[in-house]
């Protein structure tokens, strides 16, 4: 990969921007109950007319101290808490956590042999949830810009995915389906039929979304050249996922650091190209998500074609899981970006320390930088394009 940033110290983002004329500033609380902060994010903004001169996020309205809870719960029990991190992509959070525990076990000399069939199930379900999460991102982004209809259309397709998940694991939002060593149940036949049906129907819907919103001139005017993030800034702020890719950096852990069986599938990593504006603007980030849905669809299609005959879905794991003493940081590509778990084990049944690196937490930080000098409407557009999930930021 090319060297994307010229190395120099960057000035701290605190401080106001210069004012052209002498005018009074207005301090406004945006949130925690605000329609476009996507949950309970509170932004303390200073405005000069319509211009935002300073943005300070205040977090913690959804804080549950999950990391402390992890220290009191067994490795199995903590899976259900990972559901509640990125609640729009709970399957992926489960997966990342299970992956981290499995890899920690492996690296410490414990054999974890995940069945081939289970790996395929994991990929299919994980990618379906990626589509579901991006659908919400797409829909709520339309809502932020003022178009309400795409949101309902996106929810309709998401509902199809949730129906599949309900058949697979019995829940519609908090799945806790992945388990350390595999998945808890296999995919029932009727759910498999629904997945195939979904594969058949989805691309047409995607085209429709593109016609309804992506290409709309008003939408393009609202998002192109707004909230531009260059690649160097993104990397400095630790952004990952569609935010980083929207800035033109081709980085996806599924390709760059392949886990599970992603190296067997043929898919592309979409990056922002500045089709209608500058590279790294809101439209690029949005469009990367739209393209990623298509890529996920391709992965699911291949996985459904190649899935081996039904077999075991769980590796042979001890009932009372004990992880030998040691530590490790393992990560996976979630819909929002790179999610990682840093697990320190002391040899017991509970983690000694389980730190979560949540992508939205790092993506949020850039608001301080990019929010300055924008209009209030642009700030809403930018927040929407970052696709923040407060469950994950506050943990």
């Amino acid at each position: 990969m090319t060297d994307v940033r010229p190395h120099q110290d960057i000035a701290t983002p605190a401080g106001d921007i210069a004012k052209p004329i002498k005018s009074e500033l207005l301090h406004i609380n945006m949130g925690p109950q605000h329609p476009s902060t996507h949950g309970v994010l509170r932004l303390f903004i200073t405005t000069d007319g319509e211009m935002v001169t300073k943005v300070v996020p205040y977090l913690g309205y959804l804080h549950r101290c999950a990391e402390k809870i992890a220290e009191g719960n067994t490795y199995h029990q903590y899976i259900i808490y990972t559901d509640r991190m990125d609640y729009l992509a709970a399957m992926n959070c489960n997966w990342t956590y299970c992956l981290a525990v499995e890899n920690t076990l492996r690296s410490l000399g414990v054999e974890v042999e995940i069945p081939e069939y289970a790996e395929y199930v994991r990929v299919i379900i994980g990618e379906l949830n990626r589509i579901a999460s991006h659908l919400i991102a797409f829909g709520t982004y339309g809502l932020d810009i003022g178009a309400m209809t795409p949101f309902f259309h996106a929810l309709r397709e998401r509902e199809a995915i949730l129906n599949i998940f309900e058949k697979v694991c019995g829940a519609r939002l908090m799945y806790s389906y992945y388990d350390v060593g595999g998945v808890k149940w296999d995919i029932p036949d009727d759910a498999m039929d629904e997945i195939k049906l979904f594969i058949d129907l989805f691309p047409a819907k995607l085209d429709e979304y593109n016609e309804l919103l992506t290409g709309n001139k008003i939408f393009v005017e609202r998002t192109a050249n707004v909230g531009v993030l260059d690649a160097a800034t993104c990397i400095d702020y630790g952004c990952t996922g569609p935010v980083l890719r929207g800035s033109g950096v081709k980085h996806d852990l599924r390709k760059d650091d392949p886990y599970s069986i992603y190296d067997r599938f043929d898919f592309d990593i979409p990056v922002g190209t500045g089709t209608v504006g500058t590279v790294g603007d809101c439209w690029d980030r949005y469009h990367v998500r739209m393209l990623e849905m298509y890529e996920s669809w391709r992965i699911i299609q291949q996985a459904v074609d190649r899935i081996p005959p039904r077999g075991e879905v769980m590796a042979k794991m001890p009932k009372n899981l004990k992880v030998p003493p040691g530590q490790g940081y393992y990560r996976a590509e979630n819909p929002k970006g790179e999610m990682g778990f840093y697990i320190i084990s002391d040899g017991g049944t509970v983690p000694f320390r389980c730190k979560t690196r949540s992508p939205a937490f790092h993506n949020l930080h850039i608001i301080e930088h990019v929010g300055k000098g924008q209009m209030i409407s642009d700030l809403c557009a930018t927040i929407g394009s970052l696709d923040l999930v407060l469950g994950e930021i506050d943990r």
């Binding site: 199995h76 019995g170 908090m174 029932p188 016609e211 309804l212």
Partner: protein
């Protein structure tokens, strides 16, 4: 100037395209269900309210231990043969429907039912008591033998 004209043209054409899509949907039948009248079929694995089949409960407390939010309360009195289960309660204020409690159950007596609409007006009513008078815990043959061996 060219951009000025093309912008206007783009705006009109994309707006009409969008209006075409929405007009198409206006003629289609909605996909939503009218909930109280129409109910969708619950899948087999649906995780509804937790149900305890008390006559088969061995009061082994494995479910309470497995629960990540500690919402299952099991109380017992007496020892050995006089052991009675005085309480088996589930606090649905805390329950998160994760089904972790059903996995270790030796007799499959604690299960996830298909009920999902038990709303109540008072939080206290969400504490479900499954045992009234003290009951003798169920003893499967093997478990009983183990208990004897322990004693």
């Amino acid at each position: 100037m060219v951009k000025f004209v093309t912008d206007i043209w783009d705006t009109f054409s994309t707006v009409f395209k969008g209006m075409g899509i929405t007009a198409r949907y206006m003629r289609k039948k909605p996909v939503t269900q009218q909930f109280p009248e129409e109910r969708w079929a619950l899948p087999d694995r649906f995780r509804g309210f937790v149900h305890n089949d008390v006559p088969r409960c061995t009061s082994c407390t494995l479910c309470a231990k497995a629960c990540p939010v500690d919402c299952i309360y099991i109380e017992m009195e007496g020892k050995g043969k006089d052991r009675r289960m005085t309480r088996f309660a589930i606090d649905y204020n805390k329950c998160i429907w994760c089904s972790l409690c059903t996995e270790p159950c030796p007799t499959n007596c604690i299960t996830m039912s298909h009920d999902y609409d038990h709303s109540v007006y008072l939080r206290e009513k969400l504490v479900y008591e499954f045992v009234g008078d003290p009951v003798i815990p169920f003893k499967p043959k093997k478990a009983a033998r183990e208990e004897e061996a322990e004693a």
